[in-house]
């Protein structure tokens, strides 16, 4: 740590100034795109070149709260779908992660590639292909169909996180529980689960946010019938109503901020995991 504070050869004041500029730039750059959202959502008229709106109004928020705007039902849909996707991803991903994390077997590398590929290959491309199948199976225009297609980009994340967790997991505790007479379920609940819980939570938050943020997959499979928050948001952004768009953005942002606060408090130090959020 001494090196940090030792004066560097050349220009100590310069390097401190550069450092300050960088820090200020970070703070500014992060906040800058968010500020107009907050202000637009409560503005009535805000023309160029006004720095602040000339008139404020609650029109956008009143519209959002009204039953005619479908915002509340879109919010409910988004939450429902994201919750469903999270639950299914956990049920599928925990065992898969266990297999990948704990065991070595032939073809494991290929399998890992297959499982991680959906993260990289764009969801739109795959969904355009699977769309026909969904139509045939009458999964289009339904909430469940949309939830199913949301699994595509999100399940691999859960598997990835869980396999990382299980790689560091000590199976012996389970074996000890068995030898003490505990059944499978009791072992799972009292031994396994507490150990893997942080990973499950991390993975679940990933999956939730991924599903929450989906737009084009919902549009394609939902067929306009399943209306989630991002769908509404896009419609208003395209129609140019800045106030309503901004207000919708703020609602849309809320879980993301909550999750960020939660993870930075309780799941500190997992920079790799946090970085994975950047895929949203």
């Amino acid at each position: 740590m001494i090196g940090d504070r030792r004066a560097l050869k050349g220009c100590p004041a310069c390097s401190r100034a550069v450092h300050r500029i960088v820090i200020a730039a970070i703070v500014g750059a992060v906040l800058l795109p968010i500020i107009p959202l907050a202000v637009w959502s409560v503005s009535h008229s805000w023309f160029f070149p006004q720095i602040l709106p000339s008139e404020l109004s609650g029109r956008a928020w009143a519209y959002i709260g009204s039953p005619f705007s479908k915002v509340l039902s879109a919010l409910a849909n988004s939450l429902l779908i994201a919750g469903l996707v999270t639950a299914v991803a956990a049920m599928l991903g925990i065992p898969a992660g266990r297999a990948l994390g704990l065991q070595r077997f032939k073809g494991k590398a290929v399998l890992e590639f297959l499982i991680l590929a959906p993260i990289i290959v764009p969801g739109l491309a795959v969904t355009m292909g699977i769309h026909v199948l969904f139509i045939k199976l009458q999964l289009v225009d339904t909430l469940y169909g949309v939830a199913l297609v949301h699994l595509l980009p999100s399940l691999p994340y859960m598997i990835m996180v869980m396999s990382g967790v299980f790689a560091n997991y000590n199976v012996e505790f389970e074996q000890q529980a068995f030898s003490l007479g505990a059944g499978r379920i009791r072992t799972f609940i009292h031994v396994t689960l507490p150990a893997i819980l942080p990973g499950v939570v991390t993975g679940s938050l990933f999956v939730f946010l991924i599903s929450w943020s989906q737009y084009i997959l919902t549009v394609l499979i939902g067929g306009g019938r399943v209306i989630t928050l991002p769908v509404l948001l896009f419609a208003f952004a395209a129609a140019g109503d800045n106030a309503v768009t901004a207000a919708l953005c703020i609602i849309f942002l809320a879980p993301a901020i909550l999750i960020l606060v939660f993870t930075s408090r309780y799941l500190s130090g997992e920079s790799g995991a946090m970085g994975g959020f950047g895929r949203l």
Binding site: A96, I115, M128, S213, I216, L233, F234, L253, L260
Partner: protein
């Protein structure tokens, strides 16, 4: 229960979902791109869709634009990530708050960033108004065109905003694991801070952030939402082009849409293969 069976039970549910959705989706897309589309009565096998696509006037400009946007966004994000990581590893007043803010972009959905960026950098956006106030411009048309523009600058800015913390956190982790020893040695040998960075730190950071950079590049290349909102309609980025072909009322355009999707998927998969090989090499090198 034997090992193989228990393995199967653990993996099967997830695998089935991924196989059906992902592999199935790609396979169906591929077959449709090759002309097998019962819905319009086409049962043929042909490369027509690919040829028409490659020959269409909008294709090359789209490819060039997409590459430009991805390269610029990735390059700028990586550069900024390294610079900010270098500053963030120091101790300073308010480090906790700044670190929290630094991670803020990670969870924000791309659509929100796109909307916010539009309100910030459009010719009648917040920055333009500030420029007017301080006399830099006399009219909104004098502010540079950053959204719905030919170079996709607004789109690039959105991706930079989202990706800097992603790479930055990795860079920070690498820097922390390196420690200060190398730097101190370099300084005792008389190197200034730039030389230290260029010849000591950078070579140590690059292997760590290279895989992440490739991921960002692949992601930006195939992205849809942001260019759909902020992009000019001609030339369009590749994913937007594929979507437009897909929803065209003329169902004959659909094989072309699939062809485009397959091409994008192929390109990205190749990138992933490169990423894995580089990762393996790095693992071998550090071992």
């Amino acid at each position: 229960m034997n090992k193989g069976l228990s393995l199967l039970i653990l993996l099967a549910p997830a695998l089935v979902v991924i196989l059906v959705l992902f592999a199935g989706g790609l396979a169906l897309g591929l077959s449709q791109s090759l002309g097998y589309m019962p819905i319009i009565g086409a049962y043929g096998f042909s490369l027509d869709a690919y040829l028409e696509l490659l020959g269409s006037p909008g294709f090359l400009p789209s490819v060039l634009l997409t590459i430009f946007v991805s390269v610029t966004a990735t390059g700028a994000a990586v550069t900024l990530a390294v610079i900010t990581a270098l500053s963030l590893r120091k101790h300073f007043v308010g480090k906790k708050l700044v670190s929290f803010l630094y991670q803020f972009p990670l969870t924000i959905p791309h659509l929100v960033v796109a909307v916010g960026m539009m309100m910030l950098v459009s010719q009648s956006g917040l920055l333009a108004r500030a420029a007017y106030r301080i006399g830099l411009i006399g009219d909104s048309s004098q502010f540079p065109v950053l959204v719905f523009d030919d170079l996709g600058i607004g789109i690039i800015l959105v991706y930079i905003w989202k990706e800097v913390p992603f790479i930055g956190l990795i860079a920070l982790a690498v820097l922390q694991s390196i420690g200060n020893d190398y730097e101190e040695q370099a300084r005792t040998l008389g190197a200034n801070s730039w030389q230290t960075f260029r010849h000591v730190l950078l070579p140590l950071i690059v292997p760590g952030i290279l895989p992440g950079s490739i991921i960002i590049f692949a992601y930006t290349f195939s992205s849809f939402e942001v260019p759909f909102l902020l992009g000019k309609s001609y030339p369009a980025m590749l994913s937007v082009l594929s979507y437009r072909l897909y929803v065209d009322v003329d169902l004959d355009a659909r094989p072309q849409a699939m062809a485009m999707s397959i091409l994008i998927a192929l390109f990205v998969l190749i990138l992933v293969v490169i990423y894995r090989r580089i990762s393996e090499q790095l693992v071998r090198r550090s071992a």
